[in-house]
């Protein structure tokens, strides 16, 4: 299981939890697992999220690997100017 940290605005959709455990081997599985466990997260994830894995911000790639020891944070999808 991978511990996924959410931004606190998402607590409303995860029964108040800011950290949830998801069975996943890559970023895509993290996102899919989150939606399965907490369907209320789907709009936010559909709107676009990035995932920080061990401090590296994965903006869009679903294939980036995660492991049980990874530090995983959901953050809002990056855009730039």
């Amino acid at each position: 299981m991978v511990e996924v940290n959410l931004w606190s605005g998402l607590k409303a959709f995860t029964d108040g939890q800011e950290k949830v455990e998801i069975d996943a081997k890559n970023v895509g599985e993290v996102l899919r697992g989150l939606v399965q466990a907490y369907p209320g997260l789907e709009p936010a994830i559909e709107a676009g999220v990035s995932v920080a894995v061990d401090g590296r911000i994965v903006a869009s790639s679903l294939t980036e690997p995660v492991s049980e020891t990874s530090e995983v944070y959901l953050i809002q999808r990056l855009r730039g100017g």
């Binding site: 931004w7 606190s8 920080a52 590296r56 911000i57 903006a59 809002q76 730039g80 100017g81």
Partner: protein
């Protein structure tokens, strides 16, 4: 990907300052920008825009216009695709209003005619009947009770119950216990700040030339930061297949985020389809101000606690961003960037995305971050003043480093904030004496940077020269740095490479030139495409010599046997292999397609001296120094240019630039005369220090540099002006009337 073999030394071409490949075109007037194209049989278009901030469109009567000589087509919303959802619907609604005009300048119809003057005349003959609706343009008023609702049902599920319907998105993040942290502080300061909307202010107005036939096949020539995005969005909005639409980017006369957005291309395509002729559409400056760009305006509350020795114990911020009549104000970046320079145990940030009757905000260099830095760094400066602490020492004491838990959650990878602060501290500017009436300001700034979808192709010619095709429009000299990276890998002179920004038919999808991604992502792809080419070159040499491919290495532009065991062969230069490639396996082309995910965040520290005339309220920036981490500067001159340009735009934002709306909700300053961007006589020379803390996510260590440079200036200048004037300025721009008002308020006690 870790920085490989090269390290930061040992480069031959990277780090030098060659002339840009498009230099001669740009200084002779030959470079073709958006409005410089023409096609046989071309028509000219003009757009009819709402003069009202908020109005129901009752009727559009184009009979008189259509009867005019030379008029070939009129389009309204009915001429675009139906049934769009999500962001495509938002873009179409902005490109051409459906039943309601949502801001002054909102497009409601368009006409194509044989000459530009005829098109403008015809546009005046299109009669639009409106029913005026109540409007709101201020962020605090737009979220207050009783504010007119811009659009019901626009809010997403993140918004807490009970908020005004104009609040359409909500963000909350942070960690620790801020109340506990404030209790541990010796001094807690709390203040509110506002910033007005500013425009990206690129000198080239949006322009395009478009053709769409009855067979659904089309061509677009336009100035854009992202032609693949133009292709995707236009196909959806006019209802054709993306691959039937070929988009070629022109030279681009500045973008800064404002040309990441599609405004006029679908209109030209719809007119072209109707008239079955090519259509050219060029915005006027006034249209650019009224209907494109600007940034969000903000209203922010900051609270920070500090111990007597300068340790920040807790920080919190509330950020309200008005982003026009559509969702999308970058409040989550404002919130996430706000405290990023500080290692904090207790931090909490909240963001609101608020709609109002203004144009749809667009990204502007590090969208959302400069405003946050203004508010946060102003309070940090106040704390330093009240506790009599050195602003650089306080920032060093609290600085984020590798491994610090960032204010937005994850741990930082390798970052260079401390290095920029140390370089600022060591810079002579930091200790230089100030004259009477002057003040000094310091600020840090942060931006994420971005990677994104990228495809690059590198083809050899038989004469041993190289054609490098990239898919990211060159906004500030990036073709030079791409050529340098290819030359470095291939071991051939920079002059032997020509870098071209290729059209949508030539390469796979490339994300927009945004997020400071070009030198990072297209650069990484160029390096990998060159390595792919080298592998193919080595294979040809191996076949010629009859040895294993593994036994061939590439050095100094030549294939060589990897050692004595590989056999004795004369090195084969690239040109020799290229000359015979047609007979040794065919054309040699290297390529790379990926979504690089190691952009590497970046920090900057700026120092500025400002002089305030207390009688007139006029401010003069007298000295400016930018210190920023570039990871690795490929072409240092263009890196300096990005630093200087960001600082100059920040000076404009801090001191002059603002969107001024009248009571009627109309924009009052839609010309450069009244929306005054910095001119040469407003600015001093802008000193630069390039810090290089390599980004582990790029083979040479590159970090994007384009955006971070605009993060610190608003705050650095506000601190300098406040220190010079002896009163804290909390609203941008710090125009003479605002400075005089602040001085008067202080005098009144």
């Amino acid at each position: 990907m870790a920085p490989d073999g090269h390290g930061t030394n040992g480069f031959k071409v990277v780090g030098t300052r060659p002339n840009r490949p498009d230099g001669v075109d740009k200084v002779t007037g030959r470079a073709k920008f958006g409005a410089d194209a023409a096609a046989p049989g071309m028509l000219h278009a003009a757009i009819v825009r709402s003069p009202h901030a908020h109005a129901k469109i009752l009727k559009i009567d184009s009979a008189k216009a259509e009867a005019m000589k030379g008029v070939k087509a009129v389009v309204t919303r009915a001429d675009f695709a139906e049934g769009l959802t999500g962001e495509n619907w938002n873009i179409l609604e902005n490109v051409m209003a459906s039943d309601t005009a949502l801001y002054d300048g909102h497009a409601v119809a368009a006409v194509a005619a044989s000459t530009p003057l005829a098109a403008r005349d015809a546009a005046k003959l299109i009669e639009v009947e409106y029913e005026l609706l109540p409007h709101v343009t201020d962020v605090d008023k737009a979220m207050g009770s009783g504010a007119p609702v811009i659009r019901t049902g626009a809010a997403d599920k993140s918004v807490p119950e009970g908020m005004h319907p104009n609040v359409v998105r909500y963000h909350e993040s942070g960690h620790g216990d801020v109340e506990k942290g404030f209790a541990e502080a010796d001094l807690v300061l709390e203040d509110s700040f506002k910033t007005e909307a500013t425009h990206q202010g690129y000198i080239e107005p949006h322009a395009c030339l478009a053709q769409l036939g009855p067979d659904g096949k089309g061509e677009v020539w336009c100035c854009t930061q992202g032609h693949f995005n133009v292709q995707k969005v236009c196909a959806a909005l006019v209802g054709t297949d993306a691959s039937q639409l070929r988009v070629t980017p022109s030279e681009i006369g500045g973008g800064f985020g404002g040309k990441t957005v599609v405004f006029i291309e679908p209109v030209a395509l719809a007119l072209s389809r109707k008239a079955n002729r090519p259509v050219k559409l060029v915005m006027s400056r006034s249209e650019v101000f009224r209907a494109t760009g600007p940034t969000a305006s903000t209203s922010m509350d900051i609270k920070i606690g500090m111990t007597r020795d300068g340790k920040i114990t807790a920080a919190q911020g509330v950020f309200r961003l008005q982003g026009g009549a559509f969702p999308g104000a970058p409040m989550e970046f404002t919130a996430m960037c706000a405290f990023a320079p500080y290692a904090l145990e207790n931090v909490h940030q909240v963001g609101y995305d608020v709609m109002s009757n203004r144009p749809k905000q667009a990204a502007y260099r590090a969208p959302g971050s400069p405003m946050a830095a203004f508010a946060v760094e102003s309070v940090v400066d106040q704390l330093c003043n009240e506790l009599d602490l050195d602003p650089i020492e306080v920032r060093l004491k609290n600085a984020s480093k590798e491994g610090t838990k960032a204010s937005f959650g994850p741990k930082f990878d390798r970052i260079g904030l401390v290095e920029t602060l140390e370089a600022a501290k060591a810079h002579p500017h930091h200790k230089a004496p100030l004259a009477e009436g002057q003040g000094r300001g310091i600020s840090c700034g942060f931006w994420f940077n971005h990677g994104g979808e990228t495809a690059v192709s590198l083809a050899l010619s038989e004469d041993g020269t190289v054609s490098l095709s990239v898919g990211t429009p060159d906004i500030g000299g990036s073709r030079a740095s791409m050529g340098q990276m290819a030359a470095e890998e291939l071991g051939i002179p920079y002059e032997k490479i020509r870098t071209t920004v290729a059209d949508t038919a030539t390469l796979g999808y490339n994300e927009i030139s945004h997020g400071s991604r070009v030198t990072y992502a297209s650069g990484l792809a160029t390096i990998q495409a060159a390595r792919d080419t080298v592998q193919k070159l080595c294979a040809r040499a191996a076949a010629k010599w009859g040895i294993d491919e593994d036994a061939v290495v590439w050095e100094d532009g030549c294939a060589k046997p990897s050692g004595p065991n590989a056999g004795e062969f004369e090195p084969l230069p690239l040109a020799r292999i290229a000359r015979s490639m047609g007979r040794t396996g065919g054309p040699i082309v290297g390529h790379f397609e990926a979504t690089p995910e190691g952009a590497g965040v970046s920090f900057a520290t700026h120092i500025v001296d400002a002089e305030v005339d207390k009688e007139t309220g006029q401010t003069k920036v007298v000295r400016y120094t930018v210190v920023q981490d570039a990871g690795k500067a490929i072409h240092p001159t263009y890196v300096e240019g990005q630093f200087q340009g960001g600082a100059a735009q920040g000076i404009g934002w801090a001191l002059n630039e603002e969107y001024i709306y009248g009571e009627d909700g109309r924009l009052q300053n839609s010309l450069f005369l009244d929306y005054r961007i910095p001119v040469a006589s407003d600015l001093p020379m802008i000193d630069t220090v390039i810090v290089e803390v390599p980004n582990p996510g790029h083979p040479y260590g590159v970090r994007g540099v384009g955006e971070t440079s605009i993060c610190p200036p608003l705050a650095a200048i506000a601190n300098a002006v406040s220190n010079a004037a002896g009163v804290r300025l909390k609203e941008l721009p710090m125009s003479p009337p605002r400075i005089l008002a602040a001085l008067a308020a202080q005098a009144d006690g």
